[in-house]
């Protein structure tokens, strides 16, 4: 996700952001008109790095840790330029402050999403680290009475090679003076890649040891004195109102504390989780549905979306991307091809069900909040707004996230509301855990979509025009109206990302969005619009290649002539998969993506059980160029996981909605992949020298088109609808 239209005030070290304390030296990054903030957190709120006199180095990390590793990677980037010994470094969660810790690559928000953490913070953290190193050198120079240019550093130590004298960073922190001015660091003064000790060399993620012995703590594990348990009875569809309620049986449940009608549903509080759920389940209730979605059915809605993209139902579109003459030349093209694709709703299925713990003070004027969120500052804002208190009165306790994939980052932070509202009612700390059924029924899904693609070739057979029309539920309006009406200018980035295919050298392009305000809960999900859009684009690209009698990999390669990094990943993955070799009973399919600058290509090797209709994926190869590979093994881990996730979306994962209600309930009817379902996954990371870009979701959208393309190679039949379930495979084969 690029947010280039929004200017972020550059933060840097300034003289007054270096602070001397009794225990050491603290460095803060100044943001615009920085002043020491005196909120609930006091002065320490501004500290980014603290060097203690005993040599310990504390570095704040603004990223949420949901398994992707950037909570460790961001401090590592800073430590690299500062030349800190990694074993001296202690990572501390940064407190919520967009101004101080916000991601320059994500609208300046403290928001871990879009695979933008390393990309967004990279240059700032390197510069800041280099400035700190320079302050340490200058202080050492005055003590040793030498010129700064005579000094260099070894890990956590300033060295004077001519005399062999050394001063540890901790020792310098003991006598350091605030510099007269902040050191100015030019790009040339940053470390050369060959000098990297940490970047490019895998370290143990800071929280990993806690994840093999049960000591890792997620918000679901939080326990505070006098804590009670809440459960929610939510409306069955968005916007339904309570008509009748009977809680006679619920009130018989032992340990029940109370039943509360809240703006978001009916809340139950009890002494144990078991009692809270039992009481909740004993309530009988009738709802009056919102006419907007009372009859919503996902299958008929998708038919309607298809009619919209085919022009059978008139609707105004929002332009997403246009290049050259757009679609002007389609009418005069020598030949055109068009096709339609569909993708279903998909669910995040993070294994830690959504939950939060809140302890509202008896006077209602402050709160302690424990939750796992992708945006610390949005959680704090939501808590403050919900309780009508200033944000300074929200004490936020950051926890590990038991998976997120986009679900823990909506603007309204829906999953913290029950604990806040119920704690305010009972004036006690409350933990509210959703059951898996709650988590699915109140899920916020990758939107339903229909796509129509049309391509025009000129008389020489060159691909000259590309037209992509997309209809989806409007994610922006639902997930984050502030960004949608603000920096996104009413264009739904979550739905449309990936339709701008800039690296393929197609001169005339247009992609447009037909957004439907369906009244269904929708959300970003790992891979956002790329998962649906690339399924359509990369499958269509295969059809174009075959229509010209070209090899699909070679056809793509010919379009990538001006993008050497793109061509390289495609070439690499073809080599890895031995692309030219024919297999008995198996076939290969390829896909390529430019995902926010990360170049990725994948090849699937599949077979088909013709009787059951089940597609079996045997091997999946990925080549990725994410620029500088900051933590190479972690990148491989992310790619492996992305492929597994993408394969689930491609083959089995499907949410359906009838009468506005989600039809699935648990992992028996929402089937995510298990170890027996996954292929051998082969990953090659090409660490080009470019600025690092994302890795957390880039391979996910490769899978569905690669599988669909392999299926076409194997059977001669196109699958145009994900998930490509056995039923759909059989029906498609029968219809040929």
């Amino acid at each position: 996700m690029s947010n280039s239209t929004t200017a972020i005030s550059p933060r840097t070290l300034s003289r007054r952001s270096v602070m001397l304390g009794a225990t050491g030296l603290t460095f803060a990054i100044a943001a615009g008109s920085w002043k020491p903030a005196r909120g609930a957190f006091g002065l320490e709120m501004n500290a980014w790095v603290t060097i203690f006199t005993d040599g310990r180095i504390q570095i704040m990390s603004p990223a949420s840790e949901m398994g992707q590793g950037s909570k460790t990677t961001l401090p590592l980037i800073l430590a690299e330029e500062m030349d800190a010994e990694w074993t001296d470094v202690r990572i501390v969660p940064a407190p919520p402050s967009d101004a101080i810790y916000g991601n320059p690559g994500f609208l300046g928000m403290m928001y871990t999403a879009g695979s933008t953490a390393v990309f967004g913070y990279f240059e700032e953290l390197r510069t800041f680290g280099a400035q700190i190193r320079q302050v340490l050198i200058e202080n050492a120079a005055s003590l040793l009475a030498v010129r700064t240019v005579e000094l260099t550093t070894e890990p956590s130590t300033v060295v004077h090679p001519p005399s062999g004298r050394k001063l540890s960073y901790g020792a310098i922190a003991g006598f350091a003076k605030v510099p007269p001015s902040a050191p100015n660091i030019t790009r040339e003064q940053l470390k050369k890649p060959e000098a990297f000790r940490l970047i490019g060399h895998d370290v143990m993620r800071y929280e990993l040891p806690s994840k093999v012995n049960g000591s890792a703590r997620y918000s679901i594990d939080v326990e505070v004195p006098e804590m009670l348990y809440g459960a929610m009875l939510y409306p069955p569809s968005v916007g339904a109102h309570l008509d009748k309620l009977s809680d006679v049986n619920a009130r018989k449940v032992p340990d029940l504390i109370g039943i509360y009608q809240l703006p978001i549903g009916i809340g139950v509080v009890a002494g144990t989780p078991w009692a809270a759920w039992s009481a909740r389940d004993a309530i009988t209730v009738e709802w009056r549905k919102d006419p907007k979605n009372a009859d919503f059915d996902s299958d008929t809605a998708q038919d309607r979306y298809a009619k919209i993209v085919n022009g059978d139902i008139a609707q105004k579109s929002a332009l997403w991307d246009k290049a050259g003459a757009g679609i002007e030349k389609l009418s005069s093209a020598a030949s055109t091809i068009s096709a339609e694709f569909r993708c279903d709703y998909a669910y995040h299925a993070q294994i830690e069900p959504l939950n939060a713990v809140a302890a509202v003070a008896a006077d209602g004027k402050s709160v302690d909040l424990w939750c796992g969120t992708q945006s610390q500052t949005m959680a704090v804002k939501t808590a403050a707004d919900t309780l009508g208190i200033p944000i300074e009165n929200v004490r936020f306790h950051e926890m590990l996230l038991g998976g997120a994939f986009g679900r823990r980052g909506p603007r309204d932070e829906d999953f913290i509301l029950p604990a806040l509202l119920l704690s305010r009612e009972v004036k006690k700390p409350i933990k509210v855990m959703w059951t898996r059924e709650d988590d699915i029924h109140n899920g916020r899904f990758r939107p339903l979509s229909a796509h129509r693609l049309e391509a025009g070739f000129d008389s020489s057979g060159a691909l000259e025009t590309w037209h992509h029309r997309v209809a989806t539920d409007n994610v922006g309006i639902f997930q984050d109206p502030i960004r949608y009406y603000g920096p996104w200018h009413e264009r739904d980035m979550i739905s449309m990302a990936g339709t701008e295919i800039t690296t393929y050298g197609i001169p005339n392009r247009l992609s447009e969005h037909f957004a439907v305000d369906s009244g269904i809960r929708v959300s970003a999900l790992r891979g956002i619009g790329f998962t649906a859009n690339k399924f359509a684009i990369e499958t269509f690209m295969d059809e174009l290649a075959r229509s010209r009698g070209r090899d699909p990999a070679e056809f793509r390669m010919s379009l990538l002539h001006d993008s050497p990094r793109s061509a390289k990943v495609l070439e690499t993955v073809a080599k890895m998969a031995d692309w030219e070799r024919k297999r008995d009973g198996k076939a290969l399919g390829v896909a390529y993506i430019d995902y926010s600058g990360s170049q990725v290509a994948g090849v699937a090797e599949i077979s088909l059980d013709a009787k059951s209709g089940q597609i079996r994926v045997h091997n999946f190869w990925v080549a990725i160029d994410p620029g500088i590979a900051v933590q190479p093994d972690n990148i491989v881990n992310q790619i492996e996981g992305s492929v597994v996730f993408g394969l689930g979306l491609a083959l089995t994962e499907r949410i359906t909605i009838a009468q506005g209600e989600v039809q699935q309930s648990n992992f028996y009817d929402y089937t995510v992949l298990r170890m027996r379902d996954i292929p051998e996954i082969h990953v090659e990371v090409i660490s080009s020298g470019a600025k690092p870009t994302g890795v957390g979701q880039m391979a996910t959208p490769l899978v569905a088109p690669a599988v669909s393309n392999a299926f076409a190679e194997l059977t001669g039949v196109r699958l145009r609808h994900t998930p490509m379930t056995s039923d759909r495979v059989l029906a498609t084969l029968a219809a040929r």
Binding site: N213, G403, A404, S642
Partner: protein
């Protein structure tokens, strides 16, 4: 009603209804949250523990079924993360979000106790009782193979 059983070698007695799932007794009464709640239906394996040396979905086990038996949770697998499975998990850097990994590790430990040299197929078959949404399956497989070799 009192129920007595062993947890991680320690005798415990709890006074909760006998039909309470063992998972919630472990988490709420015994204050050991390393055993996780994921689905409440025996489908994801995040709650896996050992009962008398066999694996069990603690969300599907009533407290009464644990009476008089010996339960091991992730906290009791080893005192210092030194179980071969835990060591292999760190060497292969398996966890991402980590939420399912307690259960995965507990299953792997039972598998290797019963079958020190499992085939790939046996590992895949046994571990398919679990869900890892982060998709760390390739590493789980490798870690079990490593633990099997390095014992």
């Amino acid at each position: 009603m009192n129920t007595t059983f062993k947890v991680n070698g320690r005798q415990v007695t709890v006074d909760v209804p006998a039909d309470t799932p063992l998972l919630w007794v472990i988490r709420e009464n015994l204050k050991m949250p390393g055993t996780r709640f994921g689905c409440g239906a025996g489908l994801c394996g995040a709650c896996m523990v050992h009962i008398d040396g066999n694996r069990a979905f603690s969300c599907q086990t009533q407290l009464s079924e644990a009476a008089g038996k010996s339960v091991t949770t992730i906290e009791g697998l080893s005192p210092d993360s030194s179980h071969p499975v835990q060591k292999a998990w760190l060497k292969e850097r398996v966890p991402q979000c980590g939420y399912c990994q307690s259960g995965q590790i507990m299953s792997a430990a039972v598998l290797l106790a019963k079958k020190p040299n499992p085939t790939r197929e046996e590992i895949v078959d046994y571990m398919s009782a679990h869900i890892c949404r982060c998709g760390t399956y390739p590493r789980i497989l490798r870690a079990i193979q490593r633990a099997s070799q390095e014992g």
